[in-house]
C-alpha cells in the first residue's frame, strides 16, 4: 500500500513531517482540580486531575513524596468498530503505567509528601497516537490543577513507511506494520522521558525517526504553552473584569 504519494503527500493530505491539527481546551470538567481536552486530528482525549489530596489507601502513603496514580480508559464508542472491552485489560494497564511514569517524572513530588494525585484519562475518539494525546492532555490538566512541575512534558509519535520518516501517525498508518516510535520529551530540560518502539529499524534510520518525533514534541510544547498563556490571560481578564 502506498502511504506517501510520489508528490510527497500522505493519505490524509499531510506532508511527511507535518503534525495533525491540534486543539486543546482547559477546564472541561468543573468538579476536577484540573482538566483538559486534547485533540490531534481525529484522536480526542479528556484528562482530569484530582489532587493533591489525602491518600485514600493509607498503606500506599509515602512520607517523602506524593503518590501519583493514573487510569486510562477508552470509551466504548471511541473506535470504529463497536466493542465491549472489559475494564483493565492489558493494553490499558500498560498505557496507564506509561503515562503514570512519564508524569511522575516531571511532577515535583517531593513538595507534596503524604498526598495523592490522581490522573484520569478518557479516550473519546481513537485514531492513532492515543498514548501521546493522553500525555499531552495530562500535562495540560496537571498545569490547570496548579501542580508544580519541572517542565511541561509533551509526547509525539513518528514512524517509517515507504522509506519516509512520518510524523504523528494516524490509525491507518499505525496499523500498516511499520515501526511506531513514541517519544515523551521535556523541552526545557532537553531530555527524553519516554521512548517506545515496535518493529525493527536500522540504527541510522531510527536516529532520524526519533529526531523527527522530538521535533514534533517541541512543536506540541510550543502549542501547549500558547494554550496555557491564553488560558491564564483569560483568567486574569475575568479577575480584573
Amino acid at each position: 500500500m502506498e502511504f506517501v504519494t510520489p508528490e510527497g503527500l500522505r493519505q490524509d493530505g499531510r506532508r511527511p513531517r507535518e503534525l495533525r491539527e491540534m486543539r486543546a481546551e482547559i477546564g472541561a470538567v468543573s468538579k476536577a482540580n484540573g482538566s483538559a481536552v486534547f485533540e490531534m486530528g481525529n484522536t480526542k482525549v479528556l484528562a482530569a486531575v484530582y489532587g493533591p489530596r489525602e491518600v485514600q489507601n493509607k498503606s500506599q502513603q509515602m512520607s517523602n513524596q506524593a503518590l501519583v496514580r493514573c487510569e486510562y480508559t477508552m470509551a466504548n464508542f471511541s473506535t470504529g468498530d463497536r466493542m465491549r472491552k472489559p475494564k483493565g485489560d492489558r493494553r490499558s494497564t500498560e498505557i496507564s503505567l506509561v503515562i503514570r511514569q512519564t508524569m511522575e517524572e516531571c511532577i515535583l513530588t517531593h513538595l507534596m509528601p503524604r498526598s495523592q494525585i490522581d490522573i484520569f484519562v478518557q479516550v473519546l475518539q481513537a485514531d492513532g497516537g492515543t498514548r501521546s494525546a493522553c500525555i499531552n492532555a495530562a500535562t495540560l490538566a496537571l498545569a490547570d490543577a496548579g501542580i508544580p512541575m519541572r517542565d511541561i512534558v509533551t509526547s509525539c509519535s513518528a514512524g517509517y513507511l515507504n522509506s519516509n520518516a512520518l510524523l504523528d501517525l494516524n490509525y491507518v498508518e499505525d496499523s500498516a506494520g511499520g515501526p511506531d516510535v513514541t517519544v515523551g520529551f521535556l523541552p526545557k530540560l532537553d531530555k527524553v522521558t519516554l521512548l517506545q518502539m515496535d518493529a525493527k529499524l536500522p540504527i541510522d534510520v531510527f536516529e532520524d525517526v526519533m529526531e523527527l518525533a522530538i521535533e514534533g514534541c517541541k512543536a506540541i510544547a510550543t502549542y501547549i504553552r500558547n494554550v496555557m498563556l491564553e488560558h491564564t490571560k483569560q483568567l486574569e481578564y475575568h479577575r480584573d473584569g
Binding site: 468538579k31 481525529n42 482530569a48 484520569f120 473519546l124
Partner: protein, 286 residues
C-alpha cells in the same frame, strides 16, 4: 462522596423548604442546559449535554441485524452507560459499574418499553428493513464525563439529542429472497434517513428532600434525598416509564402528585430540549 457539615445539610434542607435553593433556583427550575450535536465523528449520531456542571455524551451506532423471532416487525435497541473516572475518582477500576448498570437499566425502562417492545418511547417498528429478516440494531452508548447530580435526566436528554442527530443509511433490498435466505442488500453511503424523534420522551427526576420535591438536584442535594422518582413522559403527556429510587417509603398520593408535577415540568423541558437541539443542528451546519 459528598462531605457536608450539619450546618450545610440544614441550609440545603431549609432552602428547599422555602423554595430558594443554594444556587438561587426555585424547586422546579432546571439548571441551564446546553446541547452540542455530532461530537463523535465515527458514530451515526452523537450529542453532548451539559446541565450545570453535569456533562454527558451519548452516541448512537446502527448495525444491520436480524429481528427477534418473537417480534418480527421491530428493530432492536440496546442502551449502555459508562461512568468515566474523570467524573468522580470513585469510579476508578470497577467502582463505576454499579451506578453504570443502575443508569442503563433505568434508561432502558424509561425509553424502551417492556419485553414485548410495545409502548416504547423509541419507535422500534421504524427500524425494520425487511420484516422478519432484516432490521437495524441501534446501540446507544452513554458516557458520564462530569457528574454534578441528575445524571439520568441529562442522559435522557443526550440520547434524545443523539437520536435526532442520527442518520440511518438508506438500504436498497436487491431482490425478493426465498423464505429462509437473508436478502441481499445495498447500504447507501450517501442517502440517510432521519430518525423521527418527536415521540422520544424526556426524563424528569423528582427528588424528595424533607417534605418537598425538587427537579434537577445537584450532588449535594441528592445526598440529602429520601427518595426519588424518575418519570419519562412524551409530547402527548403519556408516561413511558417510571422508576423509584431510594429506600424511604412514599405515600401513594404523593407519588401521584409527583407524577402530575413531573408532567407539567416535562412540557417545559421538552420545549427547551427541542429548541436546543434545533439550535445545535443549525450550528453544526454553519
Amino acid at each position: 462522596m459528598v462531605g457536608l457539615s450539619t450546618g450545610e445539610k440544614l441550609f440545603i434542607q431549609a432552602g428547599i423548604a422555602q423554595d430558594l435553593r443554594t444556587d438561587g433556583r426555585g424547586r422546579l427550575t432546571y439548571r441551564p442546559i446546553s446541547i452540542e450535536t455530532d461530537v463523535i465523528s465515527q458514530a451515526n449520531g452523537s450529542a453532548r449535554v451539559r446541565m450545570g456542571g453535569t456533562e454527558v455524551i451519548a452516541t448512537v451506532k446502527a448495525e444491520l441485524g436480524r429481528p427477534n423471532p418473537m417480534q418480527p416487525d421491530k428493530g432492536k435497541v440496546s442502551i449502555s452507560v459508562d461512568c468515566s473516572p474523570t467524573a468522580e475518582p470513585a469510579f476508578e477500576g470497577r467502582g463505576g459499574e454499579e451506578l453504570s448498570t443502575e443508569l442503563s437499566i433505568a434508561l432502558e425502562r424509561c425509553l424502551l418499553g417492556g419485553k414485548s417492545g410495545s409502548g416504547a418511547g423509541i419507535d422500534l417498528s421504524s427500524l425494520i428493513v425487511v420484516e422478519g429478516k432484516l432490521c437495524w440494531d441501534l446501540y446507544i452508548e452513554g458516557l458520564v464525563v462530569s457528574s454534578e447530580g441528575n445524571l439520568l435526566d441529562a442522559l435522557g436528554a443526550a440520547i434524545k439529542a443523539a437520536l435526532s442527530n442520527t442518520g440511518i443509511p438508506k438500504v436498497h433490498v436487491a431482490a425478493e429472497a426465498l423464505d429462509n435466505e437473508q436478502p441481499e442488500v445495498d447500504v447507501s453511503d450517501e442517502e440517510f434517513l432521519q430518525f423521527d424523534t418527536s415521540g422520544v420522551p424526556a426524563i424528569v427526576t423528582l427528588t424528595k428532600v424533607g417534605k418537598h420535591y425538587i427537579v434537577d438536584a445537584t450532588l449535594e442535594e441528592e445526598s440529602q434525598m429520601s427518595s426519588a422518582v424518575s418519570i419519562s413522559i412524551d409530547r402527548h403527556g403519556h408516561i413511558c416509564g417510571l422508576t423509584k429510587r431510594g429506600g424511604v417509603g412514599v405515600d401513594p398520593s404523593i407519588i401521584l402528585d409527583m407524577i402530575s408535577v413531573g408532567k407539567h415540568v416535562s412540557e417545559e423541558l421538552l420545549n427547551k430540549l427541542d429548541s436546543e437541539i434545533v439550535a445545535a443542528e443549525a450550528d453544526e451546519e454553519e
